[in-house]
Structures are given as structure tokens and as C-alpha cells.
């Protein structure tokens, strides 16, 4: 099975190739790629070969074609419809995050158990009563659920998503959630990003 690290690199390659395309570059070698994203060229070639992408000897990879292939591998050539539960500070920030559309992600429905928020529209997304989630997941063909509620409510929200047929979930709440094996659950925690900075600060003087 493919590692989480490999999938992460695919996202980085995808973004780099999109940038190269904007810059008008048509061909790129693994070495050029390596210099721009700071991974060994051997790693890049191995990743791409794993997915059946091979450069032309002495030339490299075609930027457009490779970018398209990687996006299809990532599944971002398909519009992914998302339901968001919890429209507080974080949820509102996610609703306003334009980058999602650029990668073919669209939050099509939002839910909050604060009745004062029902029927409000933020960035063209209506906020609904959570009772309506199962029905809306079905008719909106939602494949991804985002959990942005307080930690004590998160497991309950996950259970509702699973029952409604949502197959993948991004959780922001600091709670250890349990989900059936067939569901892909990913937890997000910015403090991990801060620890990268902390590591740098701790070892700054060594370099």
C-alpha cells in the first residue's frame, strides 16, 4: 500500500507542475523538479515511475501531460463535493478559502446546531439544521465531510457522516475519533506545523 508520504509528494508535484505550466515551461527534468521542491531527484523519479510516469531520456517530462496525469492519480480531475459541519471561526474560514475551488473541491453544504445560523448564506453556501444532513448528503452526492465542531461533539458528527454514507472525513477537532475501516479519516492539527518551527529554533545554532 502506498505511503502517506508519497501521496503528500504527489500534491507537491501537482502544484509545482501547475506553476511551471503558468511560467510557460513545457519540459522539465527530475533534477529541475528536485531543485524547486527540495526532494532528491531519485525520489521524484521513483515516485513517478511507481505511477507509470517515465521521462524521456536526456529530455525529461512533459509538464502539461505529467501535471494532468498526477491530477488524475490524485483524483482532483473530478469535482469533489464537501459537507462542512461546524460554522464557527474555523468553519467560516474554510468556507471563505478560495484555494479549494482551484483544486476542484467545493463545499456545497454546511451545518451547525446553532439555530441562529440556519438559512444564512456564506460564500454561496447555505447553513442548515444538522437534522437535514443525511438527506442533503444523498441528493448533493457528498463524498467528503469536514468536522469543525468542538471536540466533545466530534465523534457524534463523524457517526452521522458515516451513517449518511460519506466515505472520507477531514477532522479538525482535537479528539481521537473512531471510524469504520472502510472510512478514510484524516486528522488535522496545526500544532504539528508549529513543531517543525520549534525544531528549527532548537537546532538553529547547529547549522
Amino acid at each position: 500500500t502506498i505511503s502517506e508520504g508519497t501521496i503528500h509528494r504527489l500534491s507537491l508535484y501537482s502544484r509545482l507542475l501547475a506553476t511551471l505550466e503558468e511560467e510557460g515551461t513545457t519540459v522539465v527534468s527530475s533534477r529541475d523538479l528536485s531543485e524547486r521542491i527540495n526532494f532528491p531527484a531519485t525520489q521524484i523519479r521513483r515516485d513517478l515511475a511507481y505511477f507509470g510516469q517515465f521521462g524521456k531520456r536526456g529530455i525529461g517530462y512533459e509538464v502539461c501531460a505529467l501535471g494532468r496525469s498526477i491530477n488524475e492519480i490524485l483524483g482532483v480531475h473530478v469535482r469533489r463535493r464537501i459537507a462542512l459541519v461546524g460554522v464557527g471561526n474555523l468553519g467560516s474560514a474554510l468556507l471563505g478559502y478560495r484555494v479549494l475551488r482551484e483544486h476542484n473541491f467545493e463545499i456545497v453544504a454546511a451545518f451547525d446546531n446553532d439555530a441562529r445560523k440556519w438559512d444564512r448564506v456564506i460564500n454561496n453556501v447555505v447553513i442548515h439544521n444538522p437534522d437535514r444532513l443525511p438527506q442533503i448528503v444523498e441528493c448533493e452526492q457528498i463524498e467528503i465531510g469536514i468536522i469543525a465542531v468542538p471536540p466533545q461533539a466530534a465523534q457524534n458528527v463523524l457517526d452521522v457522516f458515516v451513517l449518511a454514507g460519506v466515505r472520507s472525513i477531514l477532522n479538525f477537532a482535537p479528539a481521537r475519533l473512531s471510524a469504520p475501516r472502510r472510512i478514510k479519516l484524516r486528522n488535522v492539527d496545526f500544532s504539528i506545523e508549529l513543531e517543525r518551527l520549534s525544531y528549527f529554533l532548537q537546532h538553529e545554532c547547529d547549522t
Copy 2:
């Protein structure tokens, strides 16, 4: 130089060891660790050995001691003081994120160029006029800056942080920023996390 992947794994080990400690586990083998976080035991042993952490043959690692060592390597045994610029939806969510304190991160000052927000207090953090940033960075000994402003303002905010002497920066704005080599800049983009889910959805039927 150490890879970003290794630092990321250190954060995962740190969290797992904290959990094991809470559960009352005193000794753990690389194999036990491997089963809980889904990395090969060989990788875990290699990472730990790189940092001078060796288990006892036939026994494993002492949970408390290893956890402490890893936290010192990550530099989270030191309270890291943070300044946040941009107290909109995302910034407000970050101010309310209690997990930061648990990992010894503290947002001690916030800044926003919306004058109506000045002197407001959110979670014990005062929101200041950005003009005061250099002075506050110095007297508050701030080592980490967080950028949570709209993309067109982000480079400017980074430049102010750098001038003020902040050495590491976490940027949430979707903008390609340039920073001096000595500054550690990390960009956060949730759409990458969503692409992990998209990959899963795309290949679900293969598994």
C-alpha cells in the same frame, strides 16, 4: 540535513508516547509503536537511533524517558512565544485553539489593521495596532510569527516580522512568499489534506 518527513514523524512519536504515558505504559518496543502509528518498525528505530535513542535489546524503550528526549529534540520543552497577524475567522480560530498550550506554544500577542479590533481581548490575547509589532516582538521575546491575513497582504506582514527579528514563520495565506535564507518559513494549505482524501476516493475501488 534532516528531512521534513523525519521531523513530522518526531511529532507523531511525541504524541504517541504522551498517549502511552497517559495509559500507564512504561516500556514499548519499536514494533508496538509501529502498530499504533502505521510506520515500519525499522523506520522508527532508524529515526530514533539517528537522534541517539536506543532501545534495550529484548525490552524496548522507556516511554517517559523517550518522550522527554523527543520533546527536547523538537524543542517543545521550551515555551515558544508566538505573534499572530490577522484576527479574522482563521486567526480567531487559532487564538481559541487550546491544543497549542499543551505543546508549549503560546500566542502572546495579536495584530490586525482593522482599528475596530484594537484593544479587544480574545482568549487573554490583546489585539494591537500592527505599528506596535516590532516593539512587542522584542519585549515579548517572540520567536514564531503566524500570518493569517488575505494573500495580498501576506508578503508585507512577513517583511515586518523579519525586520522585527522573528526567526520562524507559519503562513496560512495562499501566496508565494519570499524570505531570507536564515528565516524558517512554513506554508499551510488544507487543500493538500483534502487531496489525500481525494486520492483515497479515486483508488477506493482498487483496494
